[in-house]
């Protein structure tokens, strides 16, 4: 059982308040949609939860079996898929997957990579440089990377951005799978993406 506990979280950039007093708790099998207008701090909330920004107030704690995880453990059990997460354009999809698997301390075989790429509809494109990918294909590759990392806490920012109908269905299946076995947090403005989550956290501007 995994748990994400956010308590009294607030973030300011200088004098500008982004959000304040955000609290929620999610356990394995629960998912949350963070919604709000542009500039309301959805992305900042996700990146603060992932320790990319220090919160101005409050804290974010990750638990596994009621044991608080340290920074290294959090890094190995979380993953983010977002339009602003870029992979290496001058590496192939396979090289990207192998690299991120190794630095995350995971082993992956050629067959494993083929299977991951097939799951996101990128079969036979593994040897192409990511530079040659469309934005939708790059988004699919990020989901392959998420599947590779098998995160216990999956963070998604605009999960279906740049995807065609086929891509949306693939992502929908992945989110369905991870909602059962992980904690999923989704930042979105798209009404149909609210349905991916069991709870909603609304941020106001």
């Amino acid at each position: 059982m995994h748990k994400l506990s956010v308590t009294g979280l607030a973030k300011r950039f200088g004098p500008r308040k982004v959000f304040s007093d955000i609290s929620f708790e999610l356990q394995t099998g629960q998912s949350l949609a963070v919604v709000g207008p542009n500039g309301s701090g959805k992305t900042t909330l996700l990146l603060t939860a992932l320790n990319r920004y220090h919160p101005t107030r409050g804290e974010v704690v990750f638990y596994r079996a009621n044991i608080r995880l340290d920074e290294d453990e959090v890094r190995s059990c979380t993953f983010l898929v977002a339009p602003y997460l870029y992979l290496y354009d001058d590496l192939t999809a396979e090289e990207n997957l192998k690299f991120f698997a190794t630095v995350a301390g995971r082993s992956v075989t050629g067959k494993g990579i083929d299977s991951l790429l097939a799951r996101v509809g990128l079969e036979r494109r593994g040897m192409d440089l990511v530079r040659a990918y469309s934005s939708g294909m790059k988004q699919r590759l990020k989901y392959a990377l998420a599947l590779l990392n098998e995160p216990e806490f999956l963070f998604l920012d605009e999960p279906t951005a740049n995807l065609d109908e086929d891509g949306r269905q693939i992502v929908s299946r992945i989110i369905d799978e991870y909602r059962q076995k992980s904690v999923v947090v989704i930042a979105t403005n798209e009404r149909e993406e609210y349905d991916f989550a069991s709870d909603i956290c609304r941020l106001d501007q």
Partner: protein, 227 residues
């Protein structure tokens, strides 16, 4: 996918191998280093002529070229991550120490290749008489380590700044001035025909400086890298 017990070194090697692969495909970093150093060397050689320069002046010219060439090229290792937007993925997945060590080894490789090409060219262009080539080679090797030890952390600090190139030179200079002065003094002794006994204190200082800089960088990098 199963988790492995891949240690720090294998993760650092993955970062190093990735950077090396990207460099082989673009050759941006090495070309920057070589372009700057060869151009400067040619201009200096043409302006000052080939003979009559004192060992101290020769040594100063050599190490100043090396310093500014490394300033021009070594920051790329982090700037490239920031400009391509890949640093977020790296921060979210990789151990900061593995990132630092991988980048340090990459910079060492880059600067070592530059030194291997530029040092013989300097000797030819400037007609430098060196009796003890191996001793000078040892000094160059220690200089590569000291320069990279000092500049890799600075490169991470300035990578997200708006005026990266200028800031890198300004921030790196106070840190690097100590080994630079030592190298100028030691190089002059070698060019004057000095033996290893004459430059032992310089060599020891370079080793100690590199050790301190790498240790401090490993301790500090996590805080520089995370936000």
């Amino acid at each position: 996918m199963p988790q492995t017990s891949a240690g720090l070194i294998s993760r650092a090697f993955a970062v190093y191998a990735k950077d090396l692969r990207l460099e082989l495909r673009s050759r941006y970093g090495l070309n920057t280093l070589l372009m700057f150093s060869i151009t400067t060397l040619a201009v200096v050689s043409y302006s000052l002529g080939q003979s009559g320069l004192s060992p101290k002046l020769l040594s100063a010219i050599f190490w100043i070229i090396m310093f500014f060439s490394s300033i021009a090229g070594l920051a790329q290792v982090f700037i490239r991550e920031e400009e391509a937007g890949t640093s977020l993925a790296l921060r979210l997945t990789a151990d900061p120490n593995a990132v630092y060590l991988g980048k340090l080894f990459f910079n060492l490789t880059l600067l070592f290749i530059m030194m291997v090409i530029i040092t013989p060219l300097f000797f030819i262009f400037m007609d430098v008489p060196v009796d003890n080539v191996l001793l000078f080679a040892l000094m160059v090797l220690l200089a590569v380590i000291a320069l990279c030890a000092a500049t890799t952390l600075v490169a991470a600090i300035i990578a997200r700044a708006a005026v990266k190139g200028t800031l890198f030179a300004v921030v790196a200079f106070p840190i690097i001035v100590v080994p630079l002065m030592v190298l100028v003094g030691g190089g002059a002794k070698v060019f004057s025909g000095g033996s290893i006994g004459d430059v032992s204190s310089e060599l020891q200082l370079l080793v100690a400086y590199s050790g301190v800089m790498v240790t401090a960088s490993i301790l500090l990098f996590k805080y520089v890298w995370q936000e």
